[in-house]
Assembly symmetry: C2
Homo-oligomer: 314 residues x 2
């Protein structure tokens, strides 16, 4: 049972809620409110940063971002994010919701999760009738999304890019798995200061390894979570910045540095470019225009690799 | 919950047991014995064929083959094969076992299974200490194997080739998913008579679709199981014939006819060749010399496909 015990599911569940115009500011609910909300699914707030437009909380399992009219919560591990979503709907009243998406990313070990996506959807549908989709093949990487069944028109800069990297290798990966890494060292390996010079950072280093980062600038965010364990390593990066115009080399910089053997690119109303190495191929690509105003796109890339080393003894 | 209700897990669990020299013939145990054994995991015998060297039973969920000194049982769906294995060990006494391998193939929806591989291994290890391995990446196709921790020397022709095909497409796939298929029509589409002219066949057509086949010749077997449902289609083929010498075009004939978007090739002491189309690549390949005398090899192939169609509404 070695694998099950040591295993940590890095891949995330994610919820985004936009409240109706006229709803009191979500930021005014205060940190105690958000502490209680994240506790509903078993997470705690580790630290937070704020500016005049938003609050960013670093959680024991990923991140929470709060704007006056919007919240975005991401959880990893075996955390039941749906419990926090239901809590929010009960506390604030589902009538205040203008748009909600709930997403589950590809899991390494779905059978170790407390709930399946279909069960989460069943609970959500009892509160807010919605629609659910799977992008990608069931037996390959895939991504589930549920959204409230209501027309919504996102503002023009409401775009999201998610880059999910699996099986990282090379110098940076070795450093991330090493016993003497520091926050400063990780930032240097990932070139974060060079890539995001104007952002304010909040970071946390887990024991014995693992790194979480939020960064904000105005109303924009960046978040990155690293589960470096060999064999099930996983790095997620997400942002709402306009990558093609602001940082066109961003995605390739990360895939070059972290050298994943496979990765997924998921976008909402965004179309960032990624230049593929000759040994990398797209093995699944589909897209869906969601009624809630987002064009969601899923691409799964794999590095051709004849030999992946010896079998794993478990 | 549409997906969960309609979903059938085609991918198999498999056990192979060799009993020690001097053990009474397993064939002499008779059909009643095997009916009881397969009932332990919820399966039933649909039909059987025999010759002077072996018995082949077609099951409600896959197949059982019995030789005087060996048994091979394959189950699909949500059947707990490990229950039948434990029953056999209890009935016959684990002291009679010379070699045992227990395998679980890549599952579409592992969270819908009643047990995980690690749980099966825990139960098996209580009877017979063993070793367990995973071949392939956890987030891609992979194959689990457990074997008794005992040196064993298989006879020279004890070789196995498994070809597992996912997401079949094209004329044969359409026929298999159609409402008016017949056993004769399936044999023609798959060219079974031409490929295996000397074998005796036993076949079953499920409602509304699905096809299972055993075929035997002397002490050799072929077995094929088709779950054609669109989106989670799966075809498994397995044999102990010496493919390179007896039927070198076999694997490519099946991948040409069934046109899977991904497939796994798993071998035990066998090295059949497969010629890849230009749009197909191997994305994971590893091998393991098992202490029980088998060199096990796993290869996962994927067809490069930019667009896999629209998202699936669930």
């Amino acid at each position: 049972m070695r694998v099950a015990v040591l295993f940590f599911e890095g891949s995330e569940k994610k919820v985004e809620v936009v409240v109706k115009s006229g709803t009191p500011s979500l930021r005014a609910l205060g940190q105690d409110y958000w502490s209680e909300l994240v506790a509903c699914c078993g997470a705690t707030i580790l630290s937070h940063i704020s500016n005049d437009q938003m609050d960013a909380y670093l959680l024991s399992e990923s991140s929470l971002f709060v704007w006056p009219d919007r919240l975005l919560m991401i959880t990893c591990g075996n955390i039941t994010l749906v419990d926090s979503v239901i809590h929010f709907l009960d506390q604030q009243g589902q009538g205040c919701v203008d748009m909600i998406t709930y997403q589950r990313k590809n899991e390494y070990q779905s059978h170790l999760q407390k709930t399946a996506f279909e069960e989460d959807v069943e609970r959500l549908n009892l509160r807010l009738p919605g629609k659910a989709f799977r992008l990608g093949h069931l037996d390959g990487h895939h991504n589930y999304v549920w959204h409230m069944d209501k027309v919504y028109q996102p503002v023009e800069d409401d775009i999201t890019t998610e880059l999910l990297m699996y099986h990282i290798e090379g110098e940076a990966a070795d450093y991330l798995r090493g016993s003497d890494q520091t926050i400063e060292g990780i930032r240097q390996h990932l070139q974060l200061d060079a890539l995001f010079p104007e952002f304010e950072f909040d970071e946390f280093l887990f024991e014995p390894f693992g790194y979480s980062m939020n960064a904000i600038r105005g109303d924009q965010y960046i978040t990155m979570h690293i589960t470096p364990q060999d064999g099930t390593s996983y790095v997620s990066f997400e942002t709402d910045i306009d990558i093609p115009n602001e940082c066109p080399e961003l995605l390739n910089r990360f895939t070059d540095i972290l050298n994943p053997s496979s990765f997924d690119l998921i976008t909402f109303n965004a179309d960032p470019k990624i230049a593929l190495q000759p040994d990398v191929a797209c093995v699944a690509h589909n897209q869906q225009q969601l009624k809630c105003g987002f064009k969601m796109e899923f691409q799964h890339f794999i590095k051709m690799a004849k030999n992946i080393g010896p079998a794993l003894e478990i």
